[in-house]
């Protein structure tokens, strides 16, 4: 990573960490921050330093080998009753080695009926795709899967 980008992302992440209170996290808004965030900075911007647990409740569907890195289908399913008291609040799709680790932040409501999100993302090389899920009680769940990319999709 270039020095300039690193400083930029570091500043953005620390600014987010400083301004983000737990109440701000509960608000129905996507976490802010710079555009070029590394994976670790993106995770800390989203969770605000909270613990993240790997959970079997989150199922992430990605191809094992993606021939074309420009189009990698990603599907996230979460076991949840989706009631007002217990629902999936947000699904964050991240990649570990892209220039910008964040792909999509999806804010869900109980009206969705199921914790589900699907899209297609770009990957610039072989790396892990991570689904970071925020539940309504404030806990964070995680699922990660490696994807082998034959041709990168960012060049």
């Amino acid at each position: 990573m270039k020095r300039r980008n690193f400083i930029k992302s570091f500043c953005a992440a620390s600014a987010v960490a400083a301004t983000m209170t737990p109440s701000a996290l509960l608000a129905k808004e996507a976490p802010k921050g710079g555009n070029l965030l590394s994976y670790d900075a993106a995770v800390s911007a989203i969770t605000g330093g909270k613990a993240v647990t790997d959970s079997a409740k989150v199922s992430l569907t990605v191809p094992e080998i993606a021939e074309n890195g420009a189009v990698v289908p990603v599907k996230v399913n979460i076991e949840s009753p989706m009631t007002d008291a217990d629902h999936v609040k947000a699904i964050h799709v991240l990649s570990t080695k892209n220039g910008n680790a964040r792909c999509a932040d999806v804010m869900l409501t109980p009206l969705n009926g199921k914790g589900y999100f699907a899209t297609r993302i770009k990957l610039n090389g072989t790396q892990d795709v991570v689904a970071l899920v925020e539940m309504s009680d404030g806990s964070f769940l995680r699922a990660a899967k490696p994807v082998k990319v034959t041709i990168g999709g960012c060049g």
């Binding site: 892209n98 220039g99 804010m107 009206l111």
Partner: protein, 112 residues
Amino acid sequence: MAEARKSMIKFKPKKFKVGDTIKVDFIVIHPMETGTKKDKKSGKIKPAHFIDNITFSLDGKPFTTMKVWETVSTNPYFSVNLKVPGKGKITVDYTDNTGEKNSKSKKLKPKG
């Protein structure tokens, strides 16, 4: 306002009842330029151009909001679920980083 982009909302399955959970798919034709590619002709770097905010709403009430980055593929596809509460209108509003705003809507008609 820029000319409307081609976009589409799909419900899966096509036939559904009140109370069913259906998929709402949204597809839009958009370049999703990352800002790192070079134009082969001019040799200049193409500026970033991507959708950054999407709102799915039912009768004007948002039920899913998304923040999206350039790492999403060209001609993006987004799929979420919806528990059908009754008749209504699904509207998807989206903006991109150049300030372009667009929206697409489709009527929700449950049977039975």
